[in-house]
């Protein structure tokens, strides 16, 4: 199996790595680059815990090959805060206790960020359908939806 050399941008930084042709972006992030914020909940695109943004598109990194990241821009949870300044979504997730175990949280935050960038004033229904690709087993989603609503308000005011 021949390794594939990849040059890409992750959270604004130029990154190079060698990966196997069948290795997923999730495996590259976690096992090669030490970016363990994206989680593997299923490996089949059904839970959203591995969500990242590639060239402005929300994707499951378990359904992207590491080789496909060549020349792309990848955003992960590790790049969501700016320095010590949390993203409003991160802050609102904390304030609303929108997490219990927290394993789904990075994926939800990335998906919610993508949602609010595309639709800054979503209705509750739009939030619920927009986040339907992210499974949470702890919260019943109530506080997650409220945190996203609150963050949207804050971000509009900013």
């Amino acid at each position: 199996m021949a390794g594939v050399a990849v040059s890409t941008t992750i959270n604004g930084d130029a990154v190079e790595y060698l990966c196997q042709p069948d290795e997923t972006l999730l495996e590259v992030l976690r096992d090669r680059l030490g970016l363990t914020g994206a989680k593997e909940g299923c490996g089949t695109g059904d839970c959203g815990a591995c969500s990242v943004i590639v060239d402005g598109r929300l994707v499951c990194s378990c359904l992207v090959l590491g080789a496909e990241a060549e020349g792309r821009k990848v955003e992960t949870i590790e790049g969501m805060a700016h320095g010590d300044q949390l993203h409003p979504l991160q802050q609102k997730f904390l304030e609303h206790a929108a997490l219990q175990c927290g394993i789904c949280t990075p994926g939800f935050l990335i998906a919610a960020k993508d949602l609010l960038e595309k639709n800054p004033s979503p209705t509750e229904e739009e939030i619920r359908f927009g986040l339907a690709g992210n499974l949470c087993r702890c919260t019943g989603y109530d506080k997650i939806v409220r945190a996203v609503q609150d963050a949207a308000e804050v971000m509009k005011g900013a």
């Binding site: 021949a2 969500s51 359904l63 090959l65 496909e68 949602l115 339907a132």
Partner: protein, 286 residues
């Protein structure tokens, strides 16, 4: 195992044609990677077609639309012109998977995966969409319903790639719709589904109609009799009753983890009625 990213369709076709072991085409990867993860396929060669020029584009032609094989469904959904002309096709494409999957999956991939439950396929069949096939012996254009031949099997020959899906230009008074049944509100595979495409005459009577059912047989079913029963009607109750009966009767479903034979038969009829009503309204019927 090799991963390649050809820049032309000819190169892609050439690589696929000369591949010794199993080869796979990668566009969105939302089916391919799941099958690889499950160990169902172990390709020797992965051909990523996303860098091929033109494959990521939606173009409006004199005859209608050409949707490149690498256009993600999310991009299709953002295209106002296609959405206006073929709302049923677009809503079907936008039902595949989650937002995350939408950013990757393609209608061409959905077609070539050849699942009887594929969401976009009944809508494409109802729309009489065509597929442009590039292969070692040149290009040909075929009806989408001739692509899947059974669960996971297609009529494509070795080295062949579907490079685009074609949708016709819409006449006045035309509308299509797609509905599927899933137990949850999102994330499920269709238990059964129906796509309906109608054109109306100036008086609001149905002039042409195509009805297709998903997850009702080994491949997506084009139910010609169902289309015929609609023609000439204004979707009165008796016609809808007959539509449901014909659709339920046309099903050859199975019992599986997603639903029962009885359920699929019955709900196929219900969905066909409801999709017809939506398509009729979209076509301007009252």
């Amino acid at each position: 195992m090799r991963y390649i990213r050809p820049l032309s369709i000819e190169d892609a076709v050439g690589e696929l044609a000369k591949a010794v072991g199993p080869a796979a085409i990668l566009a969105g990867g939302s089916d391919l990677l799941v099958r690889m993860k499950g160990g169902f396929i172990e390709p020797e060669l992965i051909v990523d077609i996303k860098a091929i020029s033109g494959l990521a584009d939606i173009t409006q032609t004199a005859d209608g639309f050409r949707i490149g094989a690498a256009v993600p469904c999310a991009v299709l959904g953002e295209n106002k012109a296609v959405r206006k002309a073929w709302p049923g096709v677009v809503e079907a494409a936008n039902l595949i998977g989650s937002k995350q999957v939408q950013g990757r999956c393609t209608i061409t991939g959905n077609l070539c995966n050849a699942s009887p439950a594929a969401d976009s396929v009944p809508a494409l069949v109802a729309a009489a969409a065509k597929a442009v096939v590039a292969g070692p012996s040149g290009k040909r254009t075929i009806a989408v319903e001739s692509v899947p031949t059974g669960p996971g099997r297609t009529s494509l020959a070795k080295g062949e790639i579907i490079e685009a899906i074609l949708l016709d230009k819409r006449p006045e008074h035309a509308g299509d719709a797609y509905l599927r049944f899933i137990p949850r509100t999102e994330m499920d595979i269709a238990v059964v589904s129906a796509g309906v495409n109608l054109t109306l005459d100036d008086k609001g009577a149905i002039k042409t109609a195509r009805v297709a059912l998903g997850a009702a047989a080994p491949t997506v079913l084009l139910v010609e009799e169902a289309g015929q029963v609609l023609v000439g009607s204004r979707l009165d109750e008796a016609t809808l009753e007959r539509l449901a009966k014909i659709c339920s009767g046309a099903c050859r479903p199975i019992d599986d983890k997603r639903g029962t034979i009885e359920f699929r038969r019955k709900v196929a009829g219900v969905l066909a009625q409801r999709a017809a009503a939506i398509a009729y309204k979209r076509a301007g019927g009252k």
